[in-house]
Amino acid sequence: MSNDLFDGLSLLQDARPDAISTGLARDLFLAPENIIEAARRLLVADFHLEDISGLDTAEAILVNYHFNRFDRDERMALRVIAPHHCPSVPSIAAIYGGAEWHERELSDFFGVVFQGNPNPVPLLLAETGVETPLLKSEKDRISIKTVIRPGRIVHQDSSFTLFTPENSSDARPADTKEAEA
């Protein structure tokens, strides 16, 4: 486990989900301004970019970055919260060139703006750029807590209250029953 990978970087939450049911080894929430530094560290640590996907929830649009390694399976999900009224995230395309297309796809589907993307024109949808097909209507959105199961929370920033016990019945900080992921 690369425990020291994000030393010095302020993470909103660092958790070890159940790998069997989620397929993830590590589940991180980051503030948008930290994603570029995190990507830089992951590149140096031989991680490759699997994909960037979006999730429209009641609280915000969640931008999920999936990274993995070539020599063993250690899937990391880095999540960045983009508020609905102003969904803007820094682009990591300068570090991971493949991110350019993933980010453009996300802009098409969710309307998220990636600042610094070298070619911010629609990738898959028409160039008019008005549709956001994967954004759901207000009543159809559900809470992040329903779908994201962080598992054993190793670190949680005090300002990040989405998964504290009073908010969610699922998150179990420092629960020793959770197997070491």
Binding site: L49, E50, D56, T146
Partner: protein, 388 residues
């Protein structure tokens, strides 16, 4: 350099106008596709050529975009399964597997061993048919018109075998969460046992006719130099990264199904060029035959679908899951998010071709036009999977 033509004189659409804004001096802007004999499917690449050298390339996607990810949110888990065959029609069983694997992960569904073996056999047969078509089409791009006919001849046998069990020749919707839809017909294993030596006898002829051909070697060697760090930055997987020296195969890295019990190798080439990727895929044909040999002997009796498999309108438990399989083109990933209802909340399809093609703009700079065609062929692109 500002172009000297007025806005009305520049024809083309939004993408070619935008491409021309940063035009270099003395270059020819050429539109390759979306209708073009060698961009497989509807891929469009805008090129800026200086003579025959490519100064800048930009793929333009979306001509085959059908919004599969939105369709997922309006279908139940079972009725969405046929979409997977249409995403990459050449390796439909692998996409089926990625999706049902994600559903099984989410729902904690077990799969009987016999069903696992059936999945392996059909997936490897499908991989062989995909590689054969790639081989024929790649040589068609290079100007040899005959290998595609030979490849299709062999492929017909596989299509007949897979039709006997699944009912479809190309877009299989054969897997189910919890197993497979139908058990094998009586003659199936015998047909597979007869097919293996048949293809083995054809492979030396392909090698002598094509792989050892000087002209073909000159078209592929040292073409499209793709260093490993570039694969890492773009997330390129499959034969693309194995041709650059990294032995990464999802079947070994994130084992699924009964692959841990089967003995096979991962072919790797370290030349980083189109020839390396070509040789990797040809070697994978042999490895798939090895897997088939073992699987047809080791397949047990039993159920082909677990008792209590999801029925129509099955509700998945709330949560998310990510499942990856090794497709013919690379790592296929399905990221499924469920809110506890009968339809998925979000289904993200991670297509290997998407990441593989994204490196083309950087890779094609400074190459010849003929080399660009060779590079595109060596990446083994299927545009429906890229556009989804």
């Amino acid at each position: 350099m500002k172009h000297i033509l007025s806005q009305e004189q520049i024809c083309g659409d939004f993408y070619s106008r935008r491409f021309e804004e940063n035009r270099e001096e003395e270059t020819l802007i050429l539109n390759m596709g979306p209708q073009h004999p060698s961009t497989h499917g509807v891929l469009r690449v805008i090129l800026s050529l200086d003579g025959e050298y490519i100064m800048r390339a930009e793929p333009v996607l979306g001509y085959l975009h059908r919004m599969h990810e939105a369709m997922a949110e309006h279908r139940t888990y079972l009725t969405y399964l046929p979409n997977m065959g249409r995403v990459d029609y050449l390796h439909a069983v692998a996409w089926n597997w990625a999706y049902v694997g994600a559903v099984e992960r989410l729902g904690g569904i077990e799969v009987p061993t016999r069903a696992e073996y059936i999945r392996v056999i059909t997936c490897e047969l499908n991989r062989i048919s995909s590689h054969l078509l790639w081989w024929g089409a790649y040589l068609l791009d290079l100007g040899a018109f005959t290998p595609i006919m030979y490849a299709f001849d062999d492929r017909e046998l596989i299509l007949d075998i897979l039709q006997s069990v699944s009912g479809s020749r190309l877009t299989y919707s054969f897997l189910r969460p919890g197993g497979v839809a139908f058990d094998l017909p009586d003659a199936f294993l015998e047909e597979v046992r007869a097919f293996i030596p048949h293809l083995r006898s054809r492979l030396p002829m392909y090698k002598a006719l094509v792989t050892d051909n000087t002209i073909m070697r000159h078209r592929c060697e040292q073409v499209g130099d793709l260093p490993l760090e570039m694969c890492q930055r773009y997330g390129a997987t499959g034969p693309v990264v194995r041709g650059s020296g990294m032995a990464y195969d999802v079947r070994k890295a994130e084992p699924y199904g009964v692959y841990p019990q089967l003995d096979f190798q991962i072919p790797v080439e370290s030349t980083c060029d189109a020839m390396g990727r070509y040789l990797v895929r040809m070697a994978e044909l042999e490895q798939s035959l090895r897997i088939l040999e073992q699987a047809v002997e080791a397949i047990p009796a039993g159920d082909c679908l677990v008792k209590g498999a999801p029925k129509p309108r099955w509700k998945a438990p709330a949560g998310e899951s990510y499942f990856a399989v090794e497709g013919a083109r690379g790592k296929i990933g399905v990221h499924l998010v469920s809110d506890g209802s009968a339809t998925p909340y979000r289904c993200k399809l991670r297509a290997p071709g998407f990441s593989n093609l994204s490196l083309f703009a950087e890779l094609a700079q400074g190459t010849l036009l003929s080399d660009a065609v060779s590079i595109l062929g060596s990446l083994d692109l299927v545009i429906p999977e890229i556009d989804r």
